[in-house]
């Protein structure tokens, strides 16, 4: 088994080392940026003072710290997180494109398929090492991205957050698996490298867009009414909100578009009256994040497994040339 693992890595040495390099660069950069964010030493009350109404805001002390923190957060961490959203797709494609497509184009498929007899057995032998490498590499990236994501929202104190959803954590591994399966299936179907690279890259783009749409759809489907603190302004609480509701004294619940001021009792300042109404948010809040994470991992994992199953079916039926 170890021998087949070693040979599988040797056969795809370029792809494996490219993936290792990519993951190393992005992950190490993530950890460096995290260290730089921590290094600013900005107290949380300086970054989100509205959460701490009882703490006096020291503008002289806080402003430069806040500026430095948000500059690193928006520029460097933002860039790394963007890279993190692309990384699993690139690594998945890199490791998957040549695995079957390369064997067919390179003329080795007839030799190894004749030797192995069972194509399923051959594919498992070639697939498992790459899958192990993919999961191991992306697990490193997932941990590094989680660490950076946590450092970007220190006001969450390590609690889950929808900030950067889909760009960190186990979802990184699941997205990589989906891209890997996609590239494998396209490669097995086309049997040529260039068409596989072009087509699977295009489809991976749809996979990325699909991931975003999945989040939006999930949020819309899961959104519920959430009691919010008095300081709530729709930001920096780790949730994802699609609207607010105002609870009127007569029991009605109305949304943002309603002309609330017109409903104020005669002789009462409308602004003060609106400010006194109970407000709730509609959306998902930070504690809902694990449920989203599960949905993300399950969806992309299922997509990846479906493509892997398709690859087995294609390899079983197709010609080796």
């Amino acid at each position: 088994m170890l021998s087949r693992f070693r040979l599988a890595v040797r056969i795809q040495r370029f792809e494996v080392w490219s993936s290792v390099l990519l993951v190393a660069v992005v992950s190490v950069t993530a950890l460096i940026v995290r260290a730089r964010l921590d290094g600013v030493g900005a107290p949380v009350e300086c970054l989100t003072p509205w959460i701490f109404p009882d703490v006096a805001y020291d503008a002289t002390r806080c402003f430069p710290l806040m500026a430095a923190f948000f500059q690193i957060r928006d520029d460097e961490a933002g860039l790394v997180m963007t890279a993190m959203s692309v990384l699993p797709l690139v690594v998945g494609l890199l490791l998957g494109v040549g695995l079957v497509g390369g064997e067919i184009e390179g003329g080795t498929a007839p030799t190894v398929w004749a030797l192995a007899g069972s194509r399923r057995r051959w594919l498992i032998g070639r697939l498992v090492p790459m899958l192990v490498i993919l999961v191991a590499l992306l697990a490193v990236a997932a941990i590094a991205s989680d660490m950076l994501a946590a450092a970007k929202v220190p006001w969450q104190f390590g609690r889950p957050s929808f900030d950067d959803a889909g760009r960190h954590g186990p979802g990184v591994v699941a997205r990589g698996l989906a891209a890997f399966g996609l590239a494998l299936a396209v490669g097995a179907w086309s049997g040529r490298m260039l068409p596989t690279i072009l087509l699977s890259s295009l489809l991976a783009l749809f996979l990325a867009i699909g991931g975003y749409l999945l989040l939006e759809t999930w949020v819309d489907a899961t959104a519920h009414e959430i009691d919010v603190p008095s300081w709530f302004n729709g930001e920096y609480d780790g949730g994802r909100f699609i609207g607010q509701r105002y609870h009127l004294p007569d029991g009605r619940v109305v949304g943002n578009g309603f002309n609330l001021g017109a409903l104020a009792p005669p002789g009462v300042d409308p602004d003060a009256w609106v400010a006194s109404l109970k407000v709730t948010a509609i959306g998902v809040h930070a504690p809902d994040y694990p449920a989203w994470l599960l949905t993300e991992v399950a969806t992309f994992g299922a997509v990846g497994l479906a493509f892997l199953a398709a690859t087995f079916a294609i390899v079983e039926r197709r010609r080796p040339f």
Partner: protein, 310 residues
């Protein structure tokens, strides 16, 4: 070994009627290592058949040359035996196993070398043997390594750095290492220089003779086959034109000037020989002295004549 002369149905219509008398379909042999029955392979609807109703029995043991021009269907036939192509009609068997029904079972009885060596440029010869041992149960790695040592192929060098002949030897070592009872070789020497071709064929002959392996060796380089093969199959586009022993092929035919009077029943075909003169290949059972080149050219000319008349 009895010989088989077969022409496509169209040939009987257009060629001299006397050739009908030479057609003697071979009865199925109980010891056939490779069998094709009514084998037709057509790529896509409306296209010409790559193989058209082929009947073939290759008995166990011995090296059979499968010769024919490009496009004759040599590779298609081998691919059908390997289960890489599914017959449009008819069937093939390898040691009695139909690869269309049990491909792993058929492949377990086959060692294969293709026209391209089919090796990984990044792996060494030793790693290829290691790979083969991991893929095929019972792979004889030691004998495969001995084979490579015997022909002077450096086992520790990456195959991308080796010559075409050395790569072909690695592919042959992998096929021999399977200890499969059947070897299918799909033009493995087509791209090799004469010296490498000779080295390959010599080691093939020495490697399989003692074991009683059945070898089907596709080639269009006829001159290389005479000292190696026992039987020959002449495959013209889509049909078997001749199947018999090399000895029968040579002693059963003669070349005469095309101007000679030949009984229509004895005439295979008239064609322009390698020396540029117009000659005829005629049947002279037991008294002929044709070269294998002549026999192959004559039967291919017969096939061309029948195709041209269609």
């Amino acid at each position: 070994m009895p010989e088989t002369f077969r022409l496509p149905a169209s040939a009987h219509r257009v060629d001299d009627a006397s050739m009908d008398s030479a057609v003697s379909p071979r009865a199925p042999s109980p010891s056939a290592a490779l069998r094709a029955q009514g084998l037709t392979k057509r790529y896509g609807r409306g296209r010409r058949a790559a193989l058209d109703g082929i009947d073939l029995d290759i008995t166990t043991g011995g090296i059979t040359a499968l010769v024919g021009p490009n496009g004759a269907g040599k590779s298609t036939l081998i691919r059908c035996f390997m289960g890489f192509e599914r017959p449009t009609r008819g069937f093939v068997t390898v040691d009695g196993i139909d690869p269309a029904r049990d491909r792993p079972g058929a492949l377990a009885r086959i060692g294969y070398v293709g026209q391209e060596a089919g090796l990984y440029g990044r792996l060494t010869g030793d790693e290829h043997l290691e790979l083969a041992a991991g893929l095929r149960a019972g792979f004889d790695r030691a004998s495969a390594a001995d084979h490579l040592d015997g022909v002077g192929v450096p086992r520790s060098a990456r195959t991308a750095e080796l010559s075409g002949g050395q790569q072909a030897q690695i592919a042959l070592a992998m096929a021999l290492g399977t200890r499969a009872p059947v070897l299918l070789l799909d033009e493995p020497v087509a791209r090799l220089d004469p010296l490498a071709r000779n080295g390959f064929l010599t080691t093939l002959r020495d490697g399989v003779r003692a074991r009683g392996t059945t070898v089907l060796l596709a080639s269009h380089i006829i001159g290389d086959l005479e000292g190696v093969c026992d039987d020959v199959i002449v495959l013209a586009p889509a049909a078997v034109m001749f199947h018999g022993s090399l000895e029968t092929a040579r002693t059963g035919h003669a070349i005469v000037p095309a101007t000679d009077d030949v009984a229509p029943a004895d005439l295979v075909a008239s064609f322009t020989g390698l020396n540029g003169r117009r000659v005829s290949l005629v049947r002279r059972p037991g008294t002929g002295d044709a070269s294998l080149d002549d026999v192959v050219l004559g039967y291919l000319a017969a096939a061309n004549a029948s195709l041209g008349a269609e």
